[in-house]
Symmetry: D2
Subunit: 304 residues, 4 copies
C-alpha cells in the first residue's frame, strides 16, 4: 500500500519506521528535511513538498500543533488541495476539536476520506508500536484505516462516527494524566514534609490502588525531581490543556481542575520550564511548600 | 493471643471476624451494643465497657472520627487509663495527624505501646482480609503488631517510626482517590457533551494508562451515576479531606487541588449528599454543565 | 464634524444620541435597521451599509463581540476598505487584545488613524455621558479622538501608545468587577448562614472600606437576588472573562481567580443564565451552600 | 468609668490610649509588661495579673489569636473566673466564631455580660479613633458597650444578638479585603505584562468604579511592591482566612475564592513572608508570571 507520512518528530519518526517494517511503500515529508534522511536510510522515499507526499492511497499526519496542521492540511499547497478523491487522510496529531471539525468538513467537500486517530504513548511506545489509538470517523474510512493503525499501536478504540470526538477523547486523556501529575505533586509535597519517604510512598501507591502505568511513570519522576530529558515537553502539555479548555468552553462544561492545571502550566512556562518533561508540573507544589523539607536522619522505610 | 477490638462499624466488624477466624481470643466493644451481638454469635466475648476491652495483650480500635477516638482513648474511662503497661494499642481509625500525635504521647507517658495502622479498602475488602495497611511506630511496637495486621490485610507497608506519619499517608491516599473521582467527573462531563459514550470511554481508560483499581472502581460508578448504596459515604470522605487540609495547614503545604475537593465536598453535603457514596463528588461537574447532554442516536461504540 | 456611528445596542444608542446633542453631524448604521430609526427621529442620518457610514471624518464602532467587529472592520465591505486615508476610527467595543492589534495593523497599512477607546459604565451611564474611557493609540490619533470622547464620557484616561493596551485595561477592569461579584457572593452566603442580614452587611461594607460604586452597585443586587432585567448580561461578562484569559495565556500570566470566574460563568450559562445580569454569578455561592438559610426571627439590624 | 484593657499590641495600645484621653479610669494588662509602661506614662494603672485587670465595670480584650484569647478568658486564672457578675467583657480580638460562641456561653453561665466588638482599621486608625466596629450581643450588653466603643471608633454597626455573628462579619470583611488584594495582584501582573503602567492603572481604577479605601490602600502597595513595614502582617491575615474557612466548613458554605486565598497565604508563609504586609499576597501573581516584564521605554501615561 502506498502510504504518505508527514511530520517526523520524535513520535512520527517511530511510527513511520514501523510502517516501513511492515512492508508498506512509504513516502515521508518533514518541514526540516534532515529528519527525512534518517527514514530514507531505512527505505522511505522522501517528498520535497506536501503535494508529493499526497500521491498515495493513505496519508498519515503527525504534526506538532494546530498552526502546523492547519497549514499542511488547509494551506494553499496543502493536503486538501492535492490528495486524490477517495484517498484517506489519517490525522494523528493532537489538535483542537474545532480544527479537527474543519479538517473533516474540508475533506468531505473534496470527496476525500478522513479519520482522526490520535495516539497515546511516549516516543518509546511509538517506536515499539505499543501506542494506544482512539479512532473516529465514517465507518468506511475507519475500516480503511485499521490495517495501518494495527501496525502503529497495540490497540485501537473506536469512539465515534464524528472524527473530532477522537480528538476530544485524546485531550481528555491528557487532562487525566496531568491531573495525576498534579495530585501526586501535592501528595508528595505533603507526605515528605510530614516525615515519609517520597519514593517509598510511591512504591506503596503503585503496589495497591494506584497500580497503573500513569502512576508508575510519573510517581518516580516527581519523587526524584527528574524532569530532563523530556519525554513529553511541558510546552506540549500546556498546549493540550489549553485546547481542552477551548473545547470545554465551546461545550460549556466548567472544569475547575483543568483550570488549575492550566494556571500551573502557564507558571511553569513563565519560569522557563517549557522544555522540561511535563511531569515538572508536579514539582510546583513542593516549591510552594518552601522546597524540600529539612531532612533529619532518614527513617528506615521498608515493607513486608 | 488476647485481643480487644473497639469499633464494630462496617469496616471493624469484618476485621474483628477475621481475627476470630484466625483463632485469637477476641473481646469486642461497641458503643451501641447491638453490633457486638453479631460478633458474639461468632465466638467473641462482649465487653460492657471500654475498660473491660482493655484486659488484653493488644487492642485494636477502628472508630469513625476524631471525636470518638479522643473519647475512647483519652477520655476519663478510656484506653490510656486502663490498658496495662507494655500492652499494645493499634489505632486503625482514620483520624487527624494531630490527634494521632496526642495518642502517641499519652501512651508513651503510660508505658503502653502504640502504633498507627490505618487501612485502605472498602468493607468487602475488610471482610475478605484484603486490606492494605500503613504502619508506623516504634520498631518494637511494629513488630508486635505485625502478626495481627497480617490477619487483617493482604499487605502492610511500614512508613515511619512516628505513628502519626501513617495517618498522614492514609489521608493523602484518600486525597489521591478523591482527585481521581474529580478528574473522572470532569472528563466524563466533557466527553459526554462532545458525543462520546461515557461507559466506553471508561473502558478505554482502564484498558490502557489508567488500569488501576481506583479507576476501575470509580469510573463506572460515575459514568452510570450509581451512588447508592454508599460503600464509603461522602460525609466520611469530606471529613478526611478536611483532616488532610488541617495537616497541610500545620505543615504549610498549599494544596490547591485538595482545596477544590474540599469545596466540592461541602457543596455535596449542603445539597443533601452526605449519605451518598463519595464518588458522587464526580457528578458535580456534570451538574455544572447543565446535566446530561441531549442524546442523539447512540453511536456504535466498540473496540478492536 | 462628520461622525459615523456603527453599533446601536443599548450602549451605542445612548452614545450616539449624546453626539447628536453636542451638535455633530451623525450618520448611524446598525445591522438590524429598526434601531437606526430611533436615532433618525433625533436627527441622525441613516446609512444603509457600512460603506455609507464611512464617509466621515471620524467613525465610532460599538459592537457586541469579536465576530461582529472583525466582520464590520476587516470584512470585504468593511471599514478598512471604505474609510478615507487620514480619517479616524475609534473602536469602543470590548474586543480581544489580539483582534485590536489586527485592527491597528490593518488601519496602519491603509493610512487610516485608529485608537482603542473602550468604555466603563452601564447603559444608564452611556445615556448620561457619564462613561469612563480608556484611550490608547498614536498621540495624533488620540488628540483627534479627544473632543468626541469628551462628549461621551466624564473622563478619559490615556494608557498607552499601543491601541490594544486599552483593550487589555478594559478586560482587566471587568475582571476586577467580576472578582467583586464573586467575593460578595461568597461573603453573603457565609454571613447569611451565620445569622447576619445580608442587606445590613452590605450597608456596613459600603459605608466603610468598600465604599466604591462597584460594591454599591452589585452588593444590593446579590443580597436581594435581583438579576433581571440585566444591565450587563452574563453572556457578555462570560465573553469578557474568556477574552481576558486568552490575553493572559498569550502573555503567560497565570490568573487563578480569573479561572475561577470563568468556570463560574460557564456554569451560569449552562444553567440557562445567559440573559441574567452578570451579578447572578454572585448567587452561585448561595446555591452551593444549599440555598437560603432557614430564617429565624429576623434580628433587629441597625447602626449608630 | 473603671475600665480594664488586656492586650497592648499595635492595635490595643492606641485603643487604650484613646480611652485614657476620654477620661476613663484605665487599668491595663499585657503578657510582656514592657508595653504596659508606655501606657502607665500616659496615666494608666498597670495590673500585674489578669485578675487585677478584672476589678472593673467593663473590660476590653484585644488579643492576637484564639490561643491567647482562650487562655486569658477561659484559663484557670482568666477573666471568666475573676470578672464580677454583671460586669461587661467587650471582646475586640479577631478570633474564631467557635471560640466566640464558647466565650459567650461561659460568661452567660457566670452572669457576666459579653459582647463581641471586632474592629476594622490598621494601627494608625486605632490611634486616631477612626476604627469601624461590628457589635453583637444582648441588647443590654450592647447598650453598655456603646459609650466605650464610641471613644474607640468612628462608627459602630450592630449586626446581631448573637455575639459570634460579629466575629463572622469581621472575618468576612478581611476575606473581602484579601480578595481585593488577590484580584489587584492578578490584574496588575497582567496589564504590566501587556504594556500598561501599574501605577497609572491604579490611578484609573481608584478614580472610577473602584474608588474605595481598600483599593486606594492596597493598589499602590502592590504596584510598588512595598510590603515592609507591615501594617497588618501576612501571618495574621493567614490566620484570619483559616478561621474564616473553619467557620465556612462548620456552616457548610463552600468558598472557592477563600480557598484560593488560603493556599496563597500558605505559600507566602512557606517562602518566609510571614512578617511582610499581607498585601504581599498580591505579589504572587507577578512571581508566577516570571517576575517583572522587561520594560521598553516607558510610555507616557497621563490622564485628561
Amino acid at each position: 500500500m502506498k502510504v504518505g507520512f508527514i511530520g517526523l518528530g520524535r513520535m512520527g519518526s517511530g511510527m513511520a519506521r514501523n510502517l516501513l517494517r511492515a512492508g508498506h511503500d512509504i513516502t515521508v515529508y518533514n518541514r526540516t528535511p534532515e529528519r527525512s534522511q534518517a527514514l530514507a536510510a531505512d527505505g522511505a522515499k522522501v517528498a520535497a513538498t506536501v503535494a508529493q507526499a499526497c500521491r498515495v492511497d493513505a496519508l498519515i499526519t503527525m504534526l506538532a500543533n494546530d498552526a502546523a496542521a492547519e497549514d499542511v492540511v488547509l494551506g494553499p499547497d496543502g493536503i486538501v488541495s492535492h490528495l486524490q478523491p477517495g484517498a484517506l487522510h489519517i490525522s494523528s496529531s493532537t489538535i483542537s476539536v474545532a480544527l479537527a471539525r474543519r479538517l473533516a468538513e474540508a475533506h468531505r467537500a473534496n470527496q476525500q476520506q478522513f479519520v482522526s486517530a490520535p495516539v497515546f504513548g511516549r516516543p518509546d511506545a511509538a517506536a515499539a508500536a505499543r501506542l494506544y489509538i482512539l479512532l473516529a470517523g465514517d465507518p468506511a474510512a475507519r475500516e480503511a484505516a485499521m490495517p495501518l493503525l494495527n501496525v502503529l499501536g497495540q490497540r485501537t478504540f473506536v469512539v465515534s462516527d464524528k472524527p473530532e470526538a477522537a480528538n476530544l477523547g485524546k485531550l481528555s486523556g491528557n487532562f487525566l494524566s496531568a491531573s495525576v501529575i498534579e495530585s501526586l505533586g501535592e501528595a508528595l509535597a505533603l507526605v515528605s514534609h510530614g516525615g515519609l519517604d517520597p519514593a517509598a510512598y510511591i512504591d506503596f501507591l503503585t503496589a495497591t490502588m494506584f497500580g497503573a502505568p500513569v502512576y508508575r511513570t510519573y510517581g518516580p519522576l516527581i519523587a526524584q525531581r527528574r524532569f530532563e530529558p523530556a519525554a513529553f515537553a511541558a510546552g506540549l502539555g500546556a498546549k493540550d490543556i489549553r485546547l481542552l479548555l477551548g473545547a470545554a468552553q465551546d461545550l460549556r462544561v466548567p472544569m475547575p481542575l483543568a483550570s488549575l492545571l492550566n494556571d500551573r502550566f502557564l507558571r511553569l512556562l513563565a519560569s522557563g520550564g517549557e522544555h522540561l518533561d511535563w511531569s515538572a508540573l508536579g514539582d510546583l507544589a513542593a516549591r510552594d511548600a518552601g522546597g524540600q523539607p529539612v531532612a533529619g536522619p532518614t527513617p528506615p522505610i521498608y515493607s513486608f
